[in-house]
Amino acid sequence: MSTQTVVSRAALGQKRGTALGLGAAVLYLSLIVLIPLAAVVLRSQERGIAYFWDAVTTPDAWAALSLTIGASAVVAVINLVMGTVIAWVLVRDRFPGKAVVDTLIDLPFALPTIVAGLVLLALYGPKSPLGLDLAYSRAGVVLALLFVTLPFVVRTVQPVLLELDRDMEQAAASLGASTAQIFRRVILPNLVPAMLSGTALAFSRSMAEIGSVVLISGNLPFKTQVASVQIFGQIETDNPVGAAAVSTVLLVVALVTLVLLDLLQRWGSRRG
């Protein structure tokens, strides 16, 4: 048997494997994600577009949606900055306990989010040992969302930073560029796509959060009630169509965010 045939047979196997893999992936994705999402959208249209519009523009639904989207935007921006800083520190700096910190970053992913709510309430609630009572306020909502979405930017920026070619920086430095210039001109452009996609993930995840905010927000309509809890309220008052309507709005906003950021990245990579 010549080497030639072995290679071609392997390549063939790979191709067949890809088709099978693609089919399996699409089927799985459809069953788990696409069809259920389509069902929610369909459900929201069950009583017509006018009802849909009514459901999402009732004062409390509107207040909940704008709070959710607003808080998520704030959280996304803070994560963008702090997530990048943390990733930077983890990749470029050496300090004792680095491995521990690196592991800790993933903790918000691993915890049931209601546990996050309990922990935050213990530390920043009415009995705060720090004397910092943020519970039942919008600041509390933002805090809970920050906790839950912390890993997104860190974990998308970190690998890119690790693979960044340090020779480029050294070359720039030898040509007389200042540290700030190196960061702005050499490092940042390479990091931006990862930073943005991490931010987009954090933003969409924030909009979906319920477990951690449900305890610390206090669920005050018009003030601290987030969309996910408002949806829960709609279900509890036997209005599944209204619940589906608010869900659909969240879905569309998340989808638009992800698409916009993808476009932005393509545009960025073409320019760079």
Binding site: A63, A122, G218, N219, L220, F222, F232
Partner: protein
């Protein structure tokens, strides 16, 4: 050789298991059945004990149970969506009505001697240990600087009892509607947090927020039995909470399910409920006493759940929707 031995062992155990299984199904012809109980969460401890007591009786000898406990509304919707249930127990009537509409519970479920209700309770005012702010009446709760904890009535079905208790007490059982509505506005202005469920409200209260919490008497008793630091007062005028129970129409074992339902009304079962803080619905339960509020009223006095639900809890235009909206507007200012 060793493999052969292992195979033989496995075969032998399978054979033994099969034999046991066979023995089990033999006795099934003697009446071994499994009932599914779907209930709201608070009476869980009581039901565990009652089931044991039932299984000690001739009717319950061969009956085993699968049990599911959770938020009343969630449980009701789960059964509506197809969760198998032989007996359903909820914290308030609309959760049962939902199943009647769906044809899962007989129309006449509430026509018996006890109108389908298995336990009673009342809404009470619970405070911190020693009641430092001396909060004992409905009016005390609207004083400036007092923080009252109660869940959001739009996310918590149970919270509706609290709303109707305050409303009924201050409107003279619904006679003076305006006085009742004014009271709700004043009360909710003192509510700093509206958790999504009664359980989370208790969590909020025990974590240090608020001076008083509107709670069910049975929950307050349960909390005290579990060494939580709180006191409670039964107001002179408050609402009688009634918890419905029923056998489903599609139960696979209606006779056993009905026998269990009947057992729930025995003094033995009612005593267990009472020990867990619930007021018994049958007379003659020994060794328990609950204070009798002089001006006790029921949801029927206020027009019944269907009327009250539309009038008070419709998210679009109802008394509570207005209360919340005014609250939101005044906070936003």
């Amino acid at each position: 050789m060793r493999r052969l031995l292992a195979t033989t062992t496995v075969m032998a155990s399978i054979a033994t298991l099969a034999a046991c299984g066979g023995g089990g199904s033999d006795s099934a012809s003697g009446g071994q059945v499994q009932l599914s109980l779907v209930a709201y969460s608070t009476p869980q401890a009581a039901y565990e004990k009652i089931i044991q007591a039932f299984q000690a009786t001739p009717e319950g000898k061969n009956v085993t149970f699968t049990k599911s406990f959770g938020a009343s509304g969630d449980q009701s919707r789960a059964v509506e969506a197809g969760l198998k249930a032989d007996i359903v127990a909820f914290s308030l009537e609309p959760d049962m009505t939902r199943l009647v509409k769906k044809g899962l519970v007989a129309e006449d479920w509430s026509t018996g001697e006890n109108k389908g209700m298995i336990t009673d309770s009342v809404v009470v005012i619970a405070t911190r240990k020693g009641n430092p702010k001396n909060l004992k009446t409905w009016d005390d709760l609207t004083k400036p600087g007092v923080e009252v904890i109660t869940p959001n009535p739009f996310t918590s079905g149970g919270a509706r009892w609290n709303v109707m208790a305050g409303y009924g007490a201050k409107s003279n059982k619904g006679a003076d509607k305006q006085a009742g509505v004014d009271y709700l506005n004043a009360l909710f202005a003192n509510v700093p947090v509206q958790d999504d469920s009664a359980r989370k409200s208790l969590q909020t209260f025990t974590s240090g927020k608020g001076d008083a919490i509107l709670a069910y008497e049975n929950e307050a008793i349960f909390a005290q039995q579990n060494n939580q630091q709180l006191d409670y007062t039964v107001p002179d005028s408050t609402i009688l909470i009634e918890n419905p129970v029923a056998v489903t129409k599609n139960s696979a074992h209606p006779n056993e399910a009905k026998a269990f339902l009947k057992f729930l009304y025995t003094t033995e079962a009612q005593k267990i409920f009472a020990d867990n803080g619930y007021r018994p619905v049958v007379k003659g339960v020994q060794g328990v006493s609950f204070p009798a509020p002089p001006a006790l009223f029921t949801i029927a006095d206020l027009g019944g759940w269907p009327k009250v639900t539309t009038e008070f809890f419709d998210p679009k235009g109802s008394v509570m929707a207005d209360v919340e909206r005014k609250l939101g507007v005044s906070i936003e200012k």
